[in-house]
């Protein structure tokens, strides 16, 4: 049924006839465009692609992708996607979620999808606010966030999506910005990874939390972006600064790079398979440190679906289903006529 021969598509082929209903200026538009640009580049086939979402602004996404799509219920997209993938592993499954959907009501499912390593792409649109319910603070909102439900400022400590993902056992963790030109490349890397590819996308909610990421997304603040590339030194601010390891405290530090001599400054070279450094990168306090972006961690291991199918194939090898025989076994006896 599933003809996997790659066909040539254009971004237009991935657009539905449905009117897109996000607020004008919402970061979701940029993400939608980036995904629609990514699909032809990865050789995707629309009918073999499924977008599964939960509830929230981001979760309207499947209606706008000319693929198969399932807009499910709040927080449960990872679980629905698990059923989709196990029922048909040939499908290319994308899960679309937000900070409230994935980390609050659906935190449990997100954790377990990552731990199991289901082969799919998990895009978390993080805008640090509940948009669709009109602006309550979310599990990623910073302390002191004033919102309708926290008029005097929130008092609880936010979670860091990428740290959560690594803690749950994710084998691919990446970060990008809704409007960044690198988003397509990050999505392509995510798709190339076999297993759950977790991508946190900083998404600007222009109505309820505008410019909350301006500290590194604004043009003037681009020096605060650290774009990571495998095998390349961790340089930022026009290569004038870098990230080095402070051996004495076993922590990262920002060092100045003079005349491009990053080696002399002890700048680390990004190794996407280094989980320890990935943990340190996602924990860097912003301000003192830049925002680490790009593919932070990419170290595949066998996926849940492949393990399930391997075991099923092994235990059913040579066994022919015979229902009549099955129901005729156990504690049986015959009553003669």
């Amino acid at each position: 049924m599933n003809d996997m021969t790659p066909i040539k598509t254009t971004p237009k082929d991935w657009e539905t006839d449905q009117e897109v209903r996000w607020c004008p200026g919402c970061g979701d538009y940029a993400i939608l465009k980036a995904v629609q640009r990514t699909m032809p580049e990865i050789g995707g086939t629309p009918e073999n692609t499924v977008f599964v979402s939960g509830i929230g602004c981001s979760s309207r996404f499947p209606y706008y992708m000319e693929t198969y799509g399932f807009h499910t219920i709040h927080g449960r997209a990872p679980a629905v996607a698990t059923g989709v993938k196990l029922a048909n592993p040939d499908l290319d499954v994308w899960v679309i979620s937000g900070d409230g959907d994935a980390l609050s009501i659906g935190g449990n499912h997100t954790m377990h999808m990552l731990r199991r390593n289901l082969d799919c792409q998990f895009l978390l649109f993080n805008n640090e606010i509940y948009g669709l319910t009109k602006g309550q603070y979310s599990p990623t909102s910073r302390e002191g966030t004033r919102s309708p439900s926290t008029p005097f400022g929130s008092v609880d400590h936010p979670t860091k999506p990428c740290a959560f993902a690594l803690g749950a056992g994710a084998r691919f963790v990446a970060r990008a910005i809704d409007v960044s030109k690198q988003l397509v490349d990050v999505l392509k890397s995510a798709h190339a990874h076999r297993g759950t590819a977790f991508v946190e996308i900083f998404q600007n909610c222009i109505v309820y939390n505008a410019d909350v990421f301006a500290g590194f997304t604004e043009k003037a603040n681009r020096d605060h972006q650290l774009w990571l590339e495998n095998g390349k030194p961790m340089l930022f601010a026009g290569d004038t600064k870098g990230i080095a390891l402070d051996v004495a405290s076993l922590s990262l530090k920002v060092v100045d790079v003079v005349d491009g001599n990053w080696e002399a400054a002890g700048v680390l070279v990004h190794d996407v398979t280094n989980c320890t450094v990935a943990h340190m990168l996602v924990e860097m306090p912003f301000g003192e440190f830049p925002m680490a972006l790009g593919v932070l961690y990419d170290d595949p291991r066998p996926t849940f679906d492949s393990a399930v199918f391997e075991q099923n194939a092994a235990v059913t090898k040579g066994k022919l289903p015979n229902l009549q025989k099955l129901i005729s076994t156990g504690q049986t006896w015959t009553v003669d006529a």
Binding site: G69, H71, T72, A79, L86, P321, S328, G330, T334
Partner: protein
């Protein structure tokens, strides 16, 4: 009749007393292996050709503190030479392995019934734990029953001495000693149990030998006591003849296994693969366990992180073209409720099995109840109709599971299948059906653009929408929980559309009534003075009570519903043809309320919510009162 033990006149030439039916209850500490003893005794009853029904009754605690009242585990079996439909009202024989087991069970024993007690366990400490001031084996407090006591613990230790087991391990063989004695009492063959023990302890032959020695010693005790050895108590022996049943191959089956096999059979008949998403919960886990071993039947099982993920993954699988199935008990079904609504809205096939237990909240996890009928029929937000069917017995659960699959796949709807803790755990003989006699109902996946264009929410003559596997070219579409536009399935909030879609969803489910059998009267006549209308596991006691009342000449009939929603089309007329309708239920009157609402009949409740099944006598009394 099931509980009317009849002992033949003493002038019977046979030294054995003969009984039509006997109820035996094995009761002991939860570590004493009573469920195992009961299970093996059940097997021996089956092999002896008896009809039987069993009722395991065990505590919610896995290992309750030793010797306590709440740690008592019991297994009751009713076996006989006539048709048996319940586990029996009151036991004829109670085997009590300790004071707590005696205290919690003796009040149920028939007057004149037999108590077999392990006197070795009636120590001061155990008596205190069971809150006995004095040893009941030594005063006359058990005067209205026959009491046989001996030190089973010591006799077991003596029997297994040659095997060099530790004291604790040796005492674990007590249940086999007791089983050996029980086999002697009912004139049973030991060999199948010996074979089973050898198989069970294949990796530890010493334990196998010790258990077999204990079994043989118990059996020998009965034999030698009979010939009047000094210091030994003679034990009455009874013979229960084989029940006359239809010829064929039989097996014992629990409701949980029957549901699992029925789901597999249903999926074969529907020609779809099954995806089962489950989360452990008592008493439903056994369905997950059973299906996990059936992968070669095209069954994928997935133990999810919670009840919600269990159903959500099943819905995902249904969307992807397999039949999603999930199973739980009341509290878990509550958690799945929002997702059931999604399956209704997206019109995907899904089977939800609820093995009901005592509620509300955590309630009585190991006890049986029928109190989730409202939850099944009404318990969702919005106008969210779905078909509900209920199994009446362990073996009936097989056909009900097939029926659930049929309705789900033919009508593109979630279906709830109700069983309960009693059905799930109880074993009964089942005449193995011939699968070639079942009519297949293969599903058709839409795989091409039909004439007039593809409509994801278009309808067939049963109002079912097409089932499309993602991956199919030309049929890409998006579904979700937001209200769908008629035909196109696009998001649509318009008032007219919501009214139209609400009506469509209702009409589709109502239309299931056109594709189910008319309601039959399973015992009695299609009109008359009194009808007892039941559903689920109350079948046995209602049927026996009606049978007894009819034998006394009373005008009473038994109607038992499989289809709870929608109900069979003739049901309203049928109910109105009786002067009185009584609805016995293990809840506070849920089916009664639905019947009153649907048909404006003056259905009267007969309720029991104690975590225990109805006794036949309780229903008989209600019949007599109504017709008195």
């Amino acid at each position: 009749m099931a509980t009317a033990a009849r002992i033949d006149a003493p002038d019977n030439a046979s030294p054995l007393q003969s009984s039509e039916a006997v109820v035996v209850r094995f009761a002991g500490d939860s570590g004493d292996g009573m469920q195992l003893t009961g299970g093996q005794f059940t097997l021996s009853s089956a092999l002896a050709g008896n009809d039987f029904a069993t009722f395991p009754d065990f505590p919610a605690e896995i290992r309750a503190p030793l010797g306590t009242l709440f740690g008592v585990s019991a297994f009751q079996i009713n076996f006989g030479s006539t048709e048996i439909e319940t586990a029996g009202d009151a036991p004829d024989v109670l085997v009590a392995m300790n004071p707590a087991a005696l205290k919690t069970n003796v009040k149920d024993l028939k007057p004149g019934g037999l108590i077999i007690a392990d006197s070795g366990e009636f120590t001061a400490r155990n008596l205190a734990k069971a809150e006995y001031d004095a040893n009941p084996l030594e005063d006359d407090s058990l005067g209205k029953w026959q009491l046989i006591q001996f030190n089973i613990s010591q006799l077991t230790l003596d029997a297994v001495k040659p095997f060099g087991l530790g004291n604790k391990e040796a005492l674990r063989c007590k249940n086999m000693w007791t089983l050996g004695l029980s086999l002697w009492m009912f004139d049973r063959d030991r060999q199948p149990i010996i074979d089973w023990l050898k198989d069970k302890f294949a990796k530890n032959p010493v334990l196998a030998d010790a258990n077999i020695a204990a079994l043989n010693a118990g059996h020998a005790y009965g034999e030698t006591a009979e010939i009047g050895q000094p210091g030994m108590v003679a034990i009455p022996q009874r013979h229960v003849s084989a029940a006359p049943v239809e010829p064929g191959l039989y097996r014992t089956i629990t409701g949980a296994d029957a549901v699992a096999y029925g789901l597999v059979a249903g999926c074969q008949l529907a020609d779809v693969k099954m995806f089962f998403g489950g989360y452990p919960i008592t008493p439903a886990s056994s369905i997950l366990h059973a299906l996990s071993r059936l992968k070669e039947y095209g069954v994928m099982t997935f133990q999810a992180e919670d009840e919600i993920a269990a159903i959500a993954s099943a819905i995902g699988a249904s969307y992807a073209g397999q039949l999603g199935v999930t199973s739980s008990s009341g509290p878990g079904i509550a958690l799945k409720t929002e997702a059931i609504g999604l399956a209704v809205m997206t019109e995907l096939p899904l089977v939800i099995v609820n093995s009901q237990r005592g509620g509300p909240s955590t309630g009585l996890p190991t006890k049986t109840e029928q109190s989730d009928l409202y939850q099944a029929v009404y318990g969702r937000n919005g106008d969210t109709p779905l078909p509900v069917i209920a199994a009446r017995s362990p073996s009936d659960a097989f056909d009900c599971a097939i029926e659930a699959v049929r309705i789900a796949t033919q009508f593109m709807t979630p279906v709830i299948l109700l069983t309960d803790g009693y059905i799930a755990n109880a074993a009964e003989p089942w005449k193995v059906p011939d699968m070639s006699t079942y009519q297949p109902f293969p599903v058709t996946f839409l795989d091409h653009v039909p004439e007039g264009g593809f409509k994801p929410y278009g309808r067939d003559n049963k109002l079912a929408r097409p089932w499309v596997k993602p991956g199919t070219p030309g049929l890409r579409h998006r579904i979700g929980g937001i209200e769908k536009q008629v035909d196109t399935g696009h998001i649509n909030y318009s008032p007219e559309n919501h009214q139209a879609m609400t009506d469509l969803r209702k009409n589709k489910v109502d239309g299931v009534a056109d594709h189910i059998p008319d309601q039959d009267v399973c015992l009695g006549t299609t009109s008359g003075k009194l009808a007892l209308v039941g559903w689920g596991s109350t079948f046995g006691p209602i049927h026996q009570a009606v049978r007894r009342a009819r034998a006394k000449g009373m005008d009473v009939s038994h109607i038992h519903l499989r289809h709870i929603w929608p109900m069979p089309k003739n049901l309203g007329e049928l109910l109105k043809s009786y002067d009185t309708v009584i609805v016995p239920e293990m809840n506070t009157g849920q089916l009664k309320t639905v019947l009153r609402d649907q048909y404006l009949v003056d259905a009267k409740p007969l309720n029991k919510v104690s975590g225990q099944p109805f006794r036949i006598a309780e229903i008989e009394a209600a019949i007599e009162e109504a017709l008195g």
